[in-house]
């Protein structure tokens, strides 16, 4: 009788381990794979302006070039909620600002500066010259030139180069257009302090 009881305990232990194993796997799948996406979507829906414009076809093409040429290896597009970043580039990036970026190209490493607030900071001519050969405008730059985006001269950009610049000029634009900072200006500065 005692032996049988012990066996029953052992059997239920295996059952508990089995159920717990599957259960914790399912739980972690939900917590790590599903819940963050849902929460992010909620936050985007809550923050995004109702009339937020998607990228134009040209900007979308520029985004593809940005990914293809590996710009994201050395440039981030994400201003963090810390004073160090805010001082250099402006308001911290909100989730809704990259709403139409799929997949997102936030980047993981900075050699060059962040580009999340690049819209309108420099002229198209500056951007094109810099893409053709960065040393023409920034003396000690270590960024490679992208001459294959041009027909032999900085003044003769291909459609790819023009699209890429259009995309760079669109980075951070929804925020400028929306007037978001007029309503919530105090929030970022208190978080950065």
């Amino acid at each position: 009788m005692k032996t049988a009881n012990r066996h029953r305990v052992f059997n239920s232990v295996y059952l508990v381990i089995f159920v717990a194993g599957i259960g914790f796997f399912a739980l972690s799948f939900y917590l790590l794979g599903i819940l963050p996406g849902q929460e992010l979507q909620k936050e985007i829906d809550a923050g995004a302006p109702a009339d937020m414009a998607d990228y134009t076809a040209q900007e979308e093409r520029g985004r593809t070039v940005y990914g293809r040429e590996g710009c994201g290896y050395c440039h981030t597009k994400q201003v963090r909620f810390v004073a160090e970043d805010v001082v250099r580039w402006g308001a911290p990036t909100q989730a809704w600002e990259t709403r139409f970026d799929y997949p997102q190209l936030w980047g993981t490493r900075r050699i060059g500066p962040d580009l999340a607030r690049e819209s309108g900071v420099r002229s198209n001519d500056w951007q094109l010259t810099h893409l053709f050969n960065p040393r023409f405008v920034v003396g000690d730059s270590v960024m490679p030139g992208y001459p294959w985006l041009f027909d032999g001269d900085a003044a003769k950009p291909t459609a790819d180069a023009v699209s890429l610049v259009a995309y760079l000029q669109a980075l951070g634009r929804p925020r400028i257009v929306s007037g978001y900072d007029d309503e919530t200006a105090p929030a970022p500065s208190t978080m950065a302090a």
Binding site: T76, R80, E84, R109, D140, V142
Partner: protein
């Protein structure tokens, strides 16, 4: 995992010095311990605030992939390989491979960590962005040079698996080698 492997060696620590594949695995475990502690440390807000996006993280990643994963895999491969009948194995080459890879990786790690901290402090200062690029040039060159012992180490590792003192008897074209590989 660290505890398990290190305690398994209790009383036989001298083996780590004499057995090259074991030394690869042991060093991999130490790298794992280091990289785990460093990862947890870097996730702390005051540290992350300063060093996020800097080369310090690239150093951290090298320690994880080249230090932990590669060393464990290399040790496992070498250990299994040297026991296969008629497979070539050169212990001296493996020993050199170990030290060259270790030195190369350590140089990369130290260079990127130090450079990353310089970079991070310049970013946090009011200095122009280009100052951080100019300051890091020397570190990036040093990091490039560190690849020389690292690559040499991997070449020697391959050498240790294909040439050896047993080369008179070792022959991967030998059918006995293939039957051994197939576990026959």
């Amino acid at each position: 995992m660290v505890f398990n492997l290190l305690i398994s060696l209790r009383g036989q620590a001298a083996k780590v010095a004499s057995d090259v594949p074991l030394r690869f695995v042991w060093t991999g475990i130490i790298f794992y311990l280091l990289v785990s502690l460093q990862g947890a440390f870097q996730a702390l807000m005051p540290v992350n605030r300063l060093t996020h996006f800097s080369d310090r993280f690239i150093g951290h990643l090298h320690l994880a992939i080249l230090g932990f994963a590669t060393f464990i895999a290399a040790g496992g491969i070498a250990n299994a390989w040297q026991r296969i009948p008629h497979a070539c194995y050169n212990d001296a080459a493996m020993n050199w491979a170990f030290w060259l890879i270790t030195v190369g990786l350590s140089l990369i790690f130290v260079t990127l960590t130090a450079g990353g901290l310089v970079q991070a402090h310049l970013w946090a200062s009011t200095a122009p962005w280009m100052d951080s690029v100019r300051a890091l040039l020397a570190y990036w060159w040093l990091r490039d040079i560190s690849a020389v012992p690292l690559l040499a180490g991997f070449v020697l590792f391959l050498f240790g698996l294909t040439m050896g003192p047993r080369s008179a008897s070792c022959n991967v074209a030998d059918p006995r080698f293939h039957s051994a590989m197939a576990g026959v």
